[in-house]
Amino acid sequence: MHSQPLSQVPGQTQVTPIVAFHEVSKWYGNVIGLNKLTIRILPGVTALLGPNGAGKSTFLQLATGQLFPSQGTVSVLGQSVWNNPSLNRFIGLCPEQDAFYEWMTGRDFLNTCARLGGMNRAEARDATSRTLQAVGMTRHQHRPIRGYSKGMRQRTKVAQALVHDPDVLFLDEPMAGTDPVARRDLMDIIQRLAGEGKSVVVSSHVLHEVQSLTPNIILLNHGRLLAEGHFRQIRDLIDTHPHHIVLICDHCRNLATRLVAWEDVEGIKVLPGDKGLMVETRSPDAFYARLPQLSLENGLLINEVYSDDDNLEAVFRYLVNK
């Protein structure tokens, strides 16, 4: 397990973390939700990744003071979160569950959330209008929530987390179940918020979405920290594991004969239709370095080379399955 935090991006080591977990464990009876998790999340956008049951929601519920840690300490913006309602003025949560006061209209719901946040009528009215516009729900604001599509409900959930203009946002699977258009829009909203200087912690198990939102990732599995840090650093971390590189070529079987002699090549698979090869290697850099020479010396034309797994999905798969 790569549970030690990787070094942070240069220039940010002195920044106060927005979220700090120290040796935090959370049990639900005999079931463990989080297991001795120690982590510091710095300002910016951070993705919390893991499969269902990894502990992402538990993490967010602890970070927003809904749950009390069985062991350890949790602080957000330098304050303990448990029984600290004043802190809720500075944080917003988009919960995972698709639950609303269904009889309310979208506007009514947001206005109520703003008022619950302590705003007076005028402030709440303005904040509601502003937030509805920010999430693109102005047109549907007077419709009952029970008639909203999944995408509209997700936008409304994000909106209630934003209505009091928090500094730190926790978004629990905000794009779950949405159509591609709503998903794109929600990602735009998150990126815009980050652009406005908000810190966002977004949980997801849809990896490619998160990858385009931020390179800062935290990987959880079975309540434990699998890895954390910059996507590239994590990629480096797993370089000891096989990389899959695809070579698209005309005479792939000839090429395979050559490649099989290389020591760092651990496996070769011919792609359907003899279109190319998938090579498994533990030394991708050395492999890439020798590839042009191979192509020149033997007259084996390689049309295309790409890594099949240089994305977050692969990182995640490697670390979880390890």
Partner: protein, 297 residues
């Protein structure tokens, strides 16, 4: 780190921990939210059907047995049926959902993540629950009086109705406070509440021993008896229905000196309600509430 995510993000950050100050605006909003939730639930339909029962039965008896004195009908339906069965049930149905409803509907998260303490959340929701149940109780008690005395009214009936409404309102406040507390102590509050209603309020309250002092209904009966006459003319002469039905030994103790006085009864009921509410608020503030998520199933 993305370029957009600058550390300037926490310019408004709270710094050291601040003293919590309850926002009256938030409290009032939560109170209104709970009241509106009551209007949209199905409870009020059940409660309306139940609470219409004494009015309907009163009307039926009045028309099928015109010789039965109105005071007797009033006693049976307003002072036996309503406080013994309907008020505790109404209180149980509403108070059991003070927190539980929001947990089951998974909307409690929206309250927990606001700058309102959990004890204030409970207090606002309890107040709203008391408002709803008191309004329903007063409304249907008045309706029952109208059904029993319509056309035969006058100032004495109005006075009796007002006193009965007040006693019933007091009852429902006490029951809601109690069942609200119970709902934080057990998940099976409906079962526990029904057992309580049957055994404590149904059985213990009707025993002519000191144990009835622990029941809500005993104090309600004493208040009713001290503030309203229940003498019914019968062929064998005037009969005190209430004393007989409520195990009050008026032959040896005509002024009920062995029983608590009116202020004592009020103090016990209101003080008990307040104590239950405060205890529930303390419990609420210390408890963590598990809202179902996909992860926790």
């Amino acid at each position: 780190m993305t370029p957009a995510s600058a550390p300037a993000a926490i310019s408004r950050s709270p710094g050291r921990r601040r003293t919590y100050r309850l926002s009256l605006s938030a409290f009032w909003t939560l109170y209104q939210l709970t009241l509106r939730g009551h209007q949209h639930g199905k409870r009020w339909i059940i409660m309306t059907a139940l609470m219409l029962l004494p009015a309907g039965l009163g009307l039926l008896v009045r028309h099928t047995a015109p010789n039965v004195p109105s005071v007797a009908i009033e006693f049976i339906f307003v002072f036996l049926l309503i406080p013994q069965a309907l008020l505790p049930l109404a209180a149980l149905i509403y108070a059991s959902g003070i927190i539980q409803d929001e947990l089951e509907e998974q909307t409690f998260t929206y309250l927990l993540i606001r700058p309102i303490s959990k004890s204030a959340i409970y207090a606002a929701k309890l107040l709203a629950t008391l408002t709803t149940t008191v309004v329903l109780t007063v409304l249907f008690t008045a309706l029952t009086y109208a059904a029993i005395y319509a056309g035969a009214g006058g100032n004495p009936v109005l006075s009796r109705c007002l006193k009965a409404c007040s006693i019933h309102a007091l009852a429902v406040v006490a029951y809601c406070s109690l069942f609200g507390l119970m709902s934080l102590l057990t998940r099976r509050v409906l079962i526990a509440g029904i057992i309580y209603i049957v055994i404590v309020e149904g059985l213990f309250a009707n025993l002519a021993f000191g144990i009835r002092l622990i029941t809500v209904i005993y104090y309600l009966r004493i208040i009713a008896y001290r503030t309203l006459p229940f003498i019914v003319p019968t062929p064998s002469g005037p009969t005190d229905f209430a004393a007989n039905a409520w195990q009050l030994d008026i032959s040896n103790d005509p002024k009920l000196l062995e029983h608590p006085q009116l202020p004592h009864c009020l103090i016990v009921l209101l003080g008990g309600s307040l104590a239950c509410s405060i205890l529930a608020m303390v419990l609420c503030s210390r408890r963590e509430f598990h809202v179902k998520t996909v992860e926790k199933g």
